[in-house]
């Protein structure tokens, strides 16, 4: 990746179907992939932030960030994908989880909001590796490529700890 702030190319604003219900997704970049999270589940996007590292914490936790009187645990998505930790400042999204409370998700960059027909979601392919299976929620076909939908529920730090899939990650440089 040359520039963390590169805008996702070729994304049109509206892929919504006139007839069916549509959903707004915030497009995100991490590593080589394009991801999207339902905007209703995003509380706030904090600009360039450096989470405070927590010693002895799992690798995929990039640290803690202060947010409205609370200290939120932040998950590094790059590490979850098996990539080397991003050394530069990153965007932190504050995501809501009904059961476990809010948390942060560190991404390389945040792009536009796209609107897509709800029923365009395709399930995870069966050949996906178990880690990706646990992280991804399905895929949208966009003209410029695929956008993987993420569900905050699956990304919550305590949920990630439960799966046990990410305890010992071998990170590679991309």
């Amino acid at each position: 990746m040359s520039d963390a702030r590169v805008q996702p190319d070729g994304l049109h604003r509206d892929f919504g179907d006139e007839s069916g219900a549509s959903v707004s997704l915030c497009s995100l970049r991490a590593g080589p992939g394009l991801f999207g999270i339902d905007t209703r589940k995003i509380r706030e996007v904090l600009g360039a932030t450096t989470p405070q590292r927590v010693p002895l914490s799992p690798q995929y936790i990039s640290g803690v960030v202060p947010y409205r009187g609370e200290v939120l645990t932040t998950v590094c998505f790059r590490v979850l994908l098996g990539l080397e930790r991003w050394s530069k400042q990153r965007c932190v999204l504050i995501l809501d989880d009904e059961d476990e409370g809010p948390f942060g998700l560190a991404m390389e960059s945040v792009g536009e909001v796209v609107t897509i027909a709800q029923d365009a979601l395709e399930p995870n392919p069966s050949v996906l590796d178990p880690r990706s299976m646990a992280l991804f929620d399905g895929t949208y076909r966009l003209p410029a490529g695929l956008m993987v939908r993420l569900d905050p529920h699956r990304l919550h730090p305590s949920r990630l700890a439960e799966t046990g899939l990410f305890a010992d990650l071998k990170l590679e440089m991309i």
């Binding site: 010693p55 960030v65 202060p66």
Partner: protein, 806 residues
């Protein structure tokens, strides 16, 4: 403190003074989700109205409990009877309305009995009190059931019939002889013995039905999830929030570099401070709430253990943060139980010892420099140090050799070691060996400390010190591995700077363990960056490093950090479950510069590094007691100051040596400066050493002949490079002259500045004045001894102290 609004006729307060302030309708009920996780099984089952009713009834019953125990002492008090009657009546009335038939029936039976009592048809006997207490437990049990399940649990077997029958019996049985025996209407002061005498026959009857409903009155009550706060406080908070919003609006409209920005910042600052203050005020609850259940508990325990005990309170209005109040509830209950069971002797033994048959427990609460101190004093047998030691040796906690050299305070600290119990026999109440260690652990968990004082034959005092609040704690921010960490001040003992050039020699190692020699005691060192697997930053330790000597839960060690930052009052923010699992951090906080710092859990850090707690350490050397003792001494000094405001606030002592091996102390407040004076500047006049000091001529006292060996009297004084250490002191004025006079005292070396306690006059037949400084006997410099008043109740026995010096 709480402003009471005009109350309606419901739940009018009639209890005698000294009780927790009654709750009237003028205050708002605020749900309190912050401190306790909701533990109600299913809130949906209980509607708002019922919840309100339960909370109010429970408060009513709490007051009734107090009134009942009071009534036992003053059977003629009609006000008390009226208060109890009203509580039961209110419950009965409301239950009928809410449709709780079982509760209503029981309350009705109780009301009948109380009605008879009010009208003077029944006399107050111990049996009656027992019956009413059982009624209360019965009502409580049903209320608890309603809160948990939403229904009052009408099952096939009617659990209340025996209780109702008993209440009826009491009413009928009581009415015949009562009219003649005790005219309850006369307000004459009845003898308390009459109640105790009649208790046995009825107590047995009363005991059986209760067990079905409430196993033990001390059984954990429903956790308090709501908090009553003054409407005034709430209004003030709302005003402040309004103010905050206005200030924010102005700040948002501010252009960069606006001239009024400093003003706005200041206003924001003051609004924040005030808001914080009022929120704290709202969270403050009088400790009296905690004391409320003790009279009943003490009464019941007294019967079980056949002791005669009275409990007295002082300072119930002392405010304490609600969450802390909950946290010390169990430790305090445990301690009270312990005092009744082990502290107070049986009436026969007491009379033999020349004490009144009835023992007295005294619970005292007061504020003291940011802490709340709760003292539990009994006038019982006290703790025999020999027995404690014998037990400790038997349990292998100390070696006999070590035991012989232990001071009294050190011995008493053994009581807090896990698995220690001195009870001669295990009773149902206490003495199973899980006791004081749990008390200490619980109190330390909330950042407090526990201290024990005892005089054999005269009683024991247990002192709990808890911080006013948990949410904001003073802390020292340290740097390690390029990260900031906050160390809570309450676990910090002292700080040591080790320059790099000394690092090689200062740190000694045995195997992989590294130790620092701190005042001739070895301190295990823990490198924070290594422990946390942080990247070591050699540049940060270019000049040296700091050792923060910390102690928590009996673990004492030196935490090595790169740098010390400012001490700050930090706001504690909890960490998410995923990070709590690491176990090393108790929270996080935002520092003044906007960055985050993790708050180190000192005890857990020590545990992870393998530092053993005090109990184990005692086995091999007992070094760790030192800091504990120093802290305790500090506490005593502060107590003494609280009791006797005439004593000057500063009780720190400068400890120095005039002759080799002899320690001398002087109050720090009298020492102006400690100067290193080149010998060449010492002049002589009339055979006395003098020093020109800031335009004054000071006479130097050189009792230990320090100057001689330095070469003052030999010819080459002008050449000498030697320096003498001189304390520049203010000496209390000589009669005839006014005020203080400066003087210099030549000393061999200054050893320490620390807290000390003056011993009582003529300790061990010594003509001078002695003080305890770090558990070593120290002479107070004679010229300054007169100016000091004796500390009341210096806790350390002089004999024990002298032993240690020998």
């Amino acid at each position: 403190m709480p402003l009471r609004m005009a109350s309606t006729d419901r739940l009018t307060h009639n209890c005698p003074h000294n009780y927790p302030p009654p709750i009237t309708q003028g205050r708002a009920r605020v749900s309190h989700a912050l401190m306790l996780p909701p533990r109600v099984p299913d809130k949906g089952k209980v509607d708002e109205l019922t919840r309100e009713f339960i909370a109010e009834s429970q408060e009513g019953l709490e007051r009734m409990e107090l009134c009942l125990t009071e009534l036992e002492k003053r059977p003629g008090d009609r006000e008390l009877v009226a208060e109890i009657f009203r509580t039961v009546h209110t419950i009965k009335g409301t239950t009928g309305f809410l449709g709780f038939g079982r509760l209503e029936k029981l309350a009705h039976a109780g009301e009948n009995l109380l009605g008879a009592l009010r009208d003077g048809k029944v006399a107050v006997t111990a049996g009656l009190i027992n019956g009413l207490l059982d009624l209360m437990d019965g009502l409580r049990a049903i209320l608890r059931l309603i809160e948990a399940t939403g229904t009052e649990g009408v099952r096939a077997r009617d659990e209340d019939s025996s209780l109702i029958a008993m209440l009826g019996e009491l009413k009928d049985a009581g009415s015949a002889p009562a009219i003649a025996a005790t005219p309850a209407t006369t307000p004459s002061d009845p003898s308390p013995t009459s109640t105790a005498a009649t208790d046995s026959p009825v107590a047995d009857v009363a005991a059986s039905p209760t067990t079905a409903l409430a196993p033990f009155p001390g059984a954990p009550s429903i956790p308090d999830k709501s908090l009553r706060i003054d409407v005034e406080v709430l209004n003030r908070m709302m005003n402040l929030v309004g103010e905050l919003v206005l200030t924010r609006n102005q700040i948002l409209q501010c252009t960069p570099g606006a001239l009024n920005f400093p003003d706005l910042a200041r206003r924001l600052d003051s609004v924040t401070a005030e808001l914080r203050e009022s929120v704290m005020e709202a969270r403050m609850q009088p400790v009296g709430h905690l004391f409320g259940k003790f009279p009943r508990m003490v009464r019941d325990l007294g019967r079980t253990c056949s002791r005669q005990v009275r409990i007295e309170f002082e300072g119930q209005e002392t405010g304490l943060d609600k969450s802390l109040l909950e946290a010390i509830r169990d430790p305090l209950t445990h301690a009270v139980r312990n005092s009744v069971d082990h502290g107070i002797e049986s009436p026969e033994d007491r009379i033999k010892a020349g004490k009144p048959a009835e023992g007295v427990l005294r619970l005292r609460a007061f504020h003291q420099s940011g802490w709340v101190v709760i003292e539990l004093t009994d006038d019982g047998a006290g703790i025999s140090t020999e027995r404690v030691l014998a037990k400790a040796i038997e349990r292998g906690l100390v070696t006999p050799e070590k035991a012989a050299s232990m001071g009294e305070r050190e011995v008493l600290q053994l009581l807090f070691v896990a698995g220690f119990s001195t009870a001669k026999q295990v009773t149902s109440v206490s003495g199973r060996g899980v006791g004081m260690d749990v008390v200490r652990a619980n109190v330390e968990k909330v950042g407090g400390s526990v201290d024990l004082e005892s005089r054999l034959g005269f009683g024991t005092t247990l002192r709990l010190r808890v911080p006013l609040t948990l949410a904001i704690v003073p802390a020292l921010v340290v740097r390690s591995g390029d990260q900031s960490f906050a160390l809570p001040q309450n676990s910090l003992v002292e700080l040591v700077y080790v320059p790099l050039r000394d690092a090689q020699t200062a740190i000694e190692s045995i195997g992989i363990a590294q130790l620092y020699r701190l005042r001739e005691r070895l301190l295990p060192l823990v490198w924070l960056d290594r422990l946390l697997q942080l990247e070591h930053n050699p540049a940060a330790q270019e000049h040296g490093f700091y050792i923060a000597v910390v102690e928590s839960e009996g673990r004492r060690f030196g935490l090595v950090v790169d740098d010390l930052m400012a001490p700050e009052e930090i706001v504690v923010k909890p960490l998410s479950a995923a990070l709590r699992g690491i176990g090393m951090f108790s929270g996080a906080t935002v520092l003044g510069n906007g960055t985050l710092a993790l708050i180190l859990d000192v005890a857990a850090t020590g545990a992870r590094a393998g530092v053993r707690p005090i109990a184990d350490a005692t086995r091999s050397g007992g070094k760790d007691a030192e800091a504990e003792r120093a802290r305790n001494q500090q506490a005593q000094i502060q107590d003494a100051q609280a009791q006797n405001p005439q004593i000057e606030m500063d009780r720190s002592m400068v400890v120095f040596e005039v002759r080799a091996g002899e320690r001398m102390a002087m109050p720090l407040s009298l020492v102006e400066r400690i100067e290193s004076v080149p010998i060449s500047e010492v002049e002589f006049a009339g055979g006395k050493a003098m020093l020109q000091y800031r335009g004054e001529v000071l006479s130097l006292e050189d009792e230990g002949d320090v100057l001689g060996p330095l070469g003052v009297f030999s010819g080459e004084t002008t050449e000498s490079q030697a320096v003498a250490t001189v304390l520049i002191c203010l000496r209390p004025g000589i009669p005839g002259t006014h005020g203080m006079r400066r003087t210099g005292i030549v000393v061999r070396q200054v050893l320490d500045i620390t807290a000390g306690t003056l011993l009582t006059e003529d300790a061990a037949g010594f003509s001078g004045r002695l003080a305890m400084v770090r558990d070593r006997v120290t002479t107070v410099h004679r010229d300054f001894a007169e100016g000091l008043s004796t500390q009341p109740a210096a806790a350390l026995q002089p004999a024990a102290a002298l032993q240690e010096v020998a």
